[in-house]
Symmetry: C2
Subunit: 246 residues, 2 copies
């Protein structure tokens, strides 16, 4: 560790500013600055530790990617109780998409902190996302999972993760289901009937059939609500087929 610290300190041009600028991005003071220096060292610097291992941000990308995936997974798990495994996986991949990570890295101007022998203009677009991942990896090494979670919450989830938008702005599951049935040339029908039972309030039940087969049932305080509820259930039952359409 000491070895790496010395190598990085001697090569890092902006030692003074780096700490201040980094603290602003992180929202806390880093404890082990060398993790962050590694996160901003490009492979063109050709740095190696005493064992000949490369010092640059590429391995930290691997770590940061893993932390992003698990923090976003736990957020989606709690926020989207109706989504099954496949659905959650798909939503997560939208959040941690290359495009999205590049956007995040750009907004924080991470590229300004990079030490590299290549002129900044020659980097491709992916460097922004790669630096963002590496930064998350460095936060994990410096402060552990909790800080990582907080940082991702502040920088990714709060400003970027709009569950409804991710779900493809699904406002009515009924219209979505009907659209799908029409496209796939399937017949469908909502069989609604009053079903108040022992309740004080009037209730309705609905049986939703597709191709003459009942695929979902629901019960609610209005016809419309019951139909929407049944459509949502059918949507999640068929989601792998339907979601190709969205």
């Amino acid at each position: 560790m000491k070895n790496i610290r010395n190598i990085l300190n001697s090569r890092f041009k902006r030692n003074g500013n780096f700490f201040m600028e980094l603290t602003k991005i992180l929202g806390f003071k880093p404890k082990h600055i060398e993790f962050f220096k590694t996160a901003f060292t490009h492979r063109s610097m050709n740095l190696r530790d005493g064992e000949g291992n490369a010092i640059n941000y590429e391995r930290l990308e691997f770590l940061g990617d893993a932390m992003l995936s698990s923090v976003i997974a736990s957020h989606l798990y709690q926020e989207v109780p109706s989504g099954d495994e496949g659905y959650l996986t798909k939503m997560r991949s939208k959040v941690v998409s290359r495009e999205h990570l590049n956007e995040l890295g750009k907004e924080l101007n991470l590229i300004d902190l990079v030490e590299s022998k290549i002129p900044a203009g020659q980097f491709g677009d992916n460097i922004h996302g790669n630096l963002f991942e590496a930064l998350v990896g460095a936060i994990f090494l410096d402060r552990g999972y909790k800080y990582c979670e907080k940082f991702i919450f502040k920088r990714v989830i709060l400003p970027k993760v709009d569950i409804e938008k991710l779900e493809g702005k699904v406002i009515s599951y009924k219209s979505l289901l009907i659209e799908w049935c029409q496209k796939e040339k399937k017949t469908f029908g909502y069989n609604v009937y009053e079903d108040t039972g022992n309740d004080d309030v009037r209730h309705f039940s609905v049986k939703l059939s597709i191709d003459q087969k009942i695929v979902a049932k629901a019960r609610a305080t209005s016809k419309k609500k019951a139909e929407e509820k049944a459509s949502k259930r059918a949507f999640f039952a068929f989601q792998n087929k339907i979601s190709k359409m969205i």
Copy 2:
């Protein structure tokens, strides 16, 4: 939450034993038993909460998989400083392979705790791994990342993750590199010379060429060590090509 607890309590046949058997597997007492009951509820039980969301272990698999991936990533990051991103990703996928997870689930006899309407004999092999993932997901919800990490360390990393074995029992990088060159019909040569410089101890340097091009250099206290070091560097430089062979 209370709602789910009631549904699960009324359906779980083995309430008494479940807590004891689970505590034995976990190595700690669960705080919110309903997370673990969900982790052992098969979809054939057809349980739903008040909103109509399914209660079974499938969503917890998604969460557990994410936690396993990040804990294993951070372990490998620290234990294999010479492996680059691609290499670490590959090693991780060996650890969290379907086969491996099934083995882990089987060893803990997780299937004995499942509540299902399907006879145990009719489950495929993957249920073992799925239950293991779901259990990890439940640990995360119950106690957070640290406990998850401890559990994975005790149950996966300590007994199962042998870095050298994962690396494909690479004992000599030199022999691996030579084998590859021969297979690919590439010429190679180790140009070794004494290079003690200002050191007190005798040192040797080596230039390793493949197809007449120098691909790696190294310096060490013996010819053999220098050759092995250079081979290792070349191995990691070419690892995507070479690893297809292993």
